[in-house]
Each structure stands twice: as structure tokens, then as C-alpha cells.
């Protein structure tokens, strides 16, 4: 429509401008020519830091679980859950699952813009796992685990028939970040 009055435009359509943006498709869908121009590999391949030799003075597992969730939300996670790991090769008892809202599904949008949810998820999981290591407990980002299945175990949502996570808050427009395995005393879900 030719009606372009700023007052009458619906105020809740935040992405309205993007349909007029001739470069937005490049941002979302064109994979980077040089992988070093994306921060994903840099963060994923970074070696894991040491566990701090002195264990921090912790509160009860319920409170620690709340603090971990609060920290994850502060770092930018939209959904956080804790699941119990039954058979973990390194003997970690718990998994922390963080999910961020995703405007585009990162599996279908290989551009730097399409991978922004992955970038945000890596920010959360990197800093959160580093913080747990500095508390004196083991924590590592495990890309190998089935994040969506563990997210269901952590009561973040359910799986649809294609194996994608569906949540109450964001539907399927959600990206589950790398799972953090840890031996920090927590309470599942």
C-alpha cells in the first residue's frame, strides 16, 4: 500500500523493514566465503580452559540450579533447563540445555545472519561453562549430544515429527544451543 504514515503503521511488526532491505537475503542465506569471517568456528574450536583448583562455596542444589538458570538468562538464553544424564562417557551427572529464540532456522539459513541464533547460543554456553569451571566444577560444551532430545527431558518443550523442538513460548522458532555437561550439584528440570 502507499500508506506510509509512521503513526498508522502497526507498531508490533518489528521486521517490517526487512522486506524492503535488498541485502537482507544475502545476510541470512549466503554462507561466508571465508569461515574465519564468522565467529562460530572460533568459539567452537577454542580449547577448553582449566577447572579452578578451589571449589566455590555453593548453596543447596536447588538454589544452585536457580542461579545457573538465572545466569544463563542473563547471558541471553531465552529458555534454560537441566536434565539428568544417565550414561555419560565422562561421568557427568547433569546437562544444562539453553535455547535461544531464532528468527530463521540456522539449519536452513547458512548466512552470517541466519547463524546469529547459533552465535548467541555459543555466547551463552561458552561463558556459562567457563563460569562453572571457575566455580571449581567440570563443565564442557558437547556438540555431539542430541540437544533436542535432552531439551525435552529438561521439560523445555516437545518434539514434532521431524525431530524439531516445539516450545510453548516460541513454537519451533527456537535454536537449542550446545549442551553443557557438568558435575556441578544441580536439580534436574
Amino acid at each position: 500500500m502507499s500508506l506510509r504514515s509512521g503513526w498508522l503503521k502497526s507498531p508490533w511488526r518489528r521486521t517490517a523493514g526487512r522486506s524492503h532491505d535488498p541485502y537482507w537475503d544475502f545476510f541470512i542465506n549466503t554462507p561466508p566465503a571465508d569461515r574465519a569471517n564468522s565467529v562460530l568456528d572460533v568459539i567452537r574450536k577454542a580449547p577448553e580452559g582449566n577447572v579452578f583448583p578451589t571449589k566455590a562455596d555453593l548453596h543447596t542444589p536447588e538454589i544452585t540450579a536457580n542461579h545457573v538458570k538465572e545466569m544463563a538468562r542473563y547471558l541471553g538464553a531465552d529458555l534454560v533447563g537441566i536434565a539428568k544424564l544417565d550414561a555419560d562417557d565422562a561421568g557427568h551427572p547433569f546437562a544444562i540445555i539453553c535455547a535461544v529464540r531464532a528468527d530463521n532456522d540456522p539449519r536452513e539459513a547458512p548466512g552470517i545472519g541466519g547463524q546469529v541464533p547459533v552465535q548467541n547460543g555459543l555466547f551463552v554456553t561458552f561463558v556459562l561453562s567457563a563460569w562453572i569451571r571457575e566455580l571449581g566444577y567440570r563443565a564442557s560444551m558437547a556438540a555431539s549430544l542430541d540437544a533436542a532430545r535432552l531439551a525435552v527431558a529438561a521439560k523445555l518443550g516437545s518434539l514434532d515429527r521431524t525431530g524439531k523442538l516445539v516450545t510453548t513460548e516460541y513454537g519451533t522458532r527456537v535454536h537449542v544451543a550446545d549442551v553443557i555437561r557438568t558435575d556441578l550439584p544441580l536439580v534436574p528440570a
Binding site: 523493514g17 526487512r18 532491505d21 535488498p22 541485502y23 537482507w24 544475502f26 545476510f27 549466503t30 561466508p32 566465503a33 571465508d34 569461515r35 574465519a36 569471517n37 564468522s38 565467529v39 572460533v42 568459539i43 577454542a46 580449547p47 577448553e48 580452559g49 582449566n50 579452578f52 566455590a56 562455596d57 555453593l58 548453596h59 543447596t60 536447588e62 538454589i63 542461579h67 538465572e70 545466569m71 542473563y74 547471558l75 541471553g76 528468527d103 552470517i112 545472519g113 546469529v116 552465535q119 548467541n120 555466547f123 561458552f126 561463558v127 567457563a130 563460569w131 569451571r133 571457575e134 566455580l135
Partner: protein, 435 residues
């Protein structure tokens, strides 16, 4: 156009009302700024040891502060900034309309999580001098992003002609946690958002290279580019004061580029008029580093100049209590939650005719002192932290905690006042006010 391109000196830049370029500006050598000087040991042993050889007691500081980590691999900003630089894409995206590209770059930065993004026209006086960063990685500041010889024998004038724009993108930190300034809670708000800004800028730098244009880091003074592009105005406390966030925005290393863009203009938010009257930051500064007096001319720039050395030198002594002071940012009347009444106030101030502003500012200052206090001692609780507990005391004030850990459980947490060390009267003994 008789002069060969790149040799004429452009007229001094307009940086808004708060800062005026009055004389020739010498390009600042990045290696002579406070942190690099300290990492070479030029500020004394206590400072050097604090900067290079101290591990923080606080776990969150160890993962988010630029030094004081136990293991640098646990600190995201060093991982991101020390990664190798990507190559510029050889298939350049054609830009027919710079205005559309400017909107696009701003949308991209916001999509990645930046709170503030502006474009400045580059000026030779904004650039750092053409010196190489130190080779020794331990002596190199984590936030120094320049790689090798980016100048390649060009003068600053030639650099600004070849790369005419500077993209300033940054994040703001959390208002509620900032209330615990001079405490680990305030540090967390400050350092975590700074890490986020570092990651966003690295990603944005990579994206501009993917578009097929150069993206240089470590080139421009962020405050100068921020002033020229209207991020805010420079306050008495030496911080850029933004229209929405006040002083609680970071100024990380901006991106210099040859991507065709449309630069923004300096803004007038009334900071200039407010700082003439207010002096809240100067009164509250624990080291008397913020000036009470008028602007001074330093390196050809007329501005309020803080005493960075006294501001810096208190830090090793307060290491057990906090990492970043943030008091001048917290008490600034412009630092308020970003909601309608503050937008209304800033709008009223910035639309008021300039001669009438001192009256309005006095009224606003009185309101601010009445409702937010002449000083800030709010008690903040976050995770297990509590700014009401003195650093020497060990107490657990988490509700419902029954764990038998080393600290005593405080059954009735007293009062709503936070504890803020050191108190001003304590420092008045050894650092004199300038007026």
C-alpha cells in the same frame, strides 16, 4: 582540485556542543594509552602486579574481566579478539544506494544484539598513530584489535579518504545491576555486556568483509567516532552519554570501512547544559578524579578532562572488593531505566531553547537529588551476591538456603543500604579536589 588527493587537511570535525576541536590534534599512539603503559610496567610495581599477576577472587570476574583470569582460555573476549582475521570476499556486493546499505548495516548490528549503532564520517584526527601493536602477547591488551601494519605507509589523511566511514556499534549494560557500583554485581553487568559487544563487533567486521569491503579495527578512537556520529555527548565524567541509556554504554573499538554509507550527525541531548550545573559525578568520585572546574584544552580538543591516573591507581587497592568502579556512570542523572518518563525528560531538555536550559536543568537536578539521592547506595542482590554485605564479612543471605557451607546464614538481612568502599571522606585525605 589542484591539490593531490590525500594531502590536504580537512577542516576540523564538528563533534556537537560538548567537545570542540580548537587546535591541531596529534594522533594518539595507542601504545601510550593507560592499559598498554601499565602492562609495560610504566605505572609502578603495584599497578603492574595488579594488572598482570593477580587472579580475582570472584569466579564471574575471572571469566569476564580483561585481566585477573586464572586461565585466559575461559575468557571469551580474548578467544574472539585473538582469532585470525578473515579475508575480504573477492566478489563484492554492489551498493547502488548508500542509504539502503546504512539501514541494512544498522539492522544487521541490531539483529546481532547491538543496542546502539551509528556511522561516523572518518576524520584524520580520530585515528590512532601508525604504530604497530606490541608483539609480546602478554603485554598486549585484549581489546587491542589492530593486526600488523594497517596503515601501509599511508598518512591519516589518505586513510580517511580510502576508508571514509566508521561504524560504531555497542551494547548498553543493565540498569538494575549497575546500582551495585563498586561491587562485583556492577562488574558483572559491565563486563558481560562488554564481552557481548566484542563478539558482535567481530561478527560485524566479518560480515562487512563478506560484503566485499575492508573492515579495519584498532584504527579509530571510539569516543571521537561516537561523538561525530551522534552516539551521545561527552559528559563531565569523560563518558559518552547516550539519549536512551545515559552513561551506561560501552565504547569498544569501532570498525573503519570503505563500504558506501551515509554518516550520522552529532546530537544535542542537553548533556552540555546539564554538566555545567550538575557535578554529581565529581562529588561522588571516590578518587576526586572528575573535575569540578571548567573544560580544558588538551591535544587541541576542548573538553572536560578527568585525571585518569588517580582513577586508575586506586584499582589495585580495591581488588578484593570490585574490579570496575562505575560510580560516575551510576550517579549520572542521565543513567536511568529506558522508559517513557526519561524519554519525555530528555525530549523536553533537548527541545528547550538553549538560553532557557540552565533553569530547567536546575529543576531536573533537584528532582534527581530528591528521588534518586545525591549519592547511590542501593542494596542489590543477584545470584548469591549481596551488595549489603561488607567484603570482610561472610554471610549467606540467599532465601531458603539450608546448605552447611562455610559462611554463616544471616537470618535478618539488615536495611536496604549497600556497602560502598572506600568512602569519599577516606580518599579526601590523600587526593585533593581540583577546586
Amino acid at each position: 582540485m589542484a591539490v593531490t588527493p590525500g594531502t590536504e587537511t580537512p577542516p576540523p570535525p564538528y563533534l556537537g556542543r560538548s567537545v570542540r576541536v580548537v587546535g591541531p590534534v596529534a594522533n594518539v599512539d595507542m601504545n601510550e594509552t593507560p592499559h598498554p603503559r601499565n602492562s609495560r610496567g610504566e605505572l609502578g610495581k603495584a599497578m603492574f602486579n595488579w594488572y598482570r599477576n593477580t587472579i580475582s577472587r570472584d569466579p564471574l570476574t575471572r571469566v569476564s574481566a580483561p585481566n585477573h583470569f586464572a586461565d585466559q582460555r575461559n575468557f571469551l573476549a580474548s578467544v574472539v579478539n585473538q582469532a585470525p582475521k578473515g579475508k575480504v570476499n573477492s566478489r563484492q556486493v554492489a551498493v547502488s544506494d548508500p542509504a539502503a546499505m546504512t539501514r541494512h548495516i544498522k539492522a544487521v548490528a541490531r539483529h546481532m544484539g547491538a543496542d546502539v549503532v551509528t556511522v561516523a564520517r572518518a576524520h584524520p584526527s580520530f585515528l590512532y598513530a601508525a604504530t604497530a601493536p606490541p608483539k609480546d602477547s602478554a603485554a598486549r591488551d585484549v581489546y587491542q584489535n589492530r593486526s600488523g601494519d594497517v596503515y601501509q605507509g599511508r598518512t591519516p589523511e589518505q586513510m580517511t579518504q580510502r576508508y571514509p566511514y566508521i561504524v560504531v556499534a555497542t551494547t548498553a549494560w543493565d540498569y538494575d545491576k549497575l546500582q551495585a557500583h563498586r561491587h562485583y554485581i556492577g562488574d558483572a553487568a559491565y563486563h558481560v555486556s562488554q564481552m557481548k559487544a566484542q563478539m558482535i563487533l567481530k561478527a560485524l567486521e566479518g560480515y562487512i568483509k563478506e560484503l566485499g569491503y575492508a573492515a579495519l579495527r584498532g584504527m579509530s578512537n571510539p569516543q571521537a567516532a561516537g561523538l561525530a556520529s551522534g552516539v551521545g555527548e561527552l559528559g563531565r565524567n569523560g563518558l559518552l552519554i547516550h539519549r536512551k541509556f545515559g552513561a551506561r554504554i560501552h565504547m569498544p573499538d569501532p570498525i573503519m570501512t570503505d563500504l558506501p554509507l551515509v554518516p550520522d550527525q552529532p546530537v544535542d541531548n542537553g548533556v552540555e547544559d546539564f554538566c555545567k550545573v550538575c557535578r554529581k559525578c565529581a562529588i561522588n568520585c571516590p578518587t576526586n578524579s572528575v573535575p569540578f572546574g571548567d573544560k580544558v584544552v588538551f591535544n587541541g580538543v576542548e573538553k572536560y578532562k578527568i585525571n585518569w591516573l588517580t582513577c586508575y591507581k586506586i584499582r589495585p587497592y580495591m581488588d578484593a572488593h570490585w574490579g570496575s568502579c562505575l560510580t560516575c556512570a551510576t550517579v549520572c542523572p542521565f543513567t536511568k531505566p529506558n522508559i517513557w518518563w526519561r524519554s519525555l525528560t530528555v525530549w523536553a531538555l533537548s527541545t528547550c531553547p538553549i538560553p532557557a536550559r540552565p533553569v530547567l536543568v536546575r529543576a531536573l537536578k533537584a528532582i534527581d537529588d530528591r528521588f534518586w539521592g545525591a549519592t547511590k547506595q542501593t542494596r542489590v542482590r543477584w545470584l548469591g551476591y549481596d551488595s549489603g554485605i561488607k567484603p570482610g564479612e561472610q554471610a549467606c543471605t540467599v532465601a531458603g538456603c539450608t546448605a552447611a557451607h562455610g559462611t554463616a546464614h544471616a537470618t535478618d538481612p539488615v536495611g536496604n543500604l549497600g556497602y560502598y568502599a572506600p568512602l569519599k571522606e577516606n580518599t579526601n585525605r590523600f587526593v585533593k579536589r581540583d577546586v
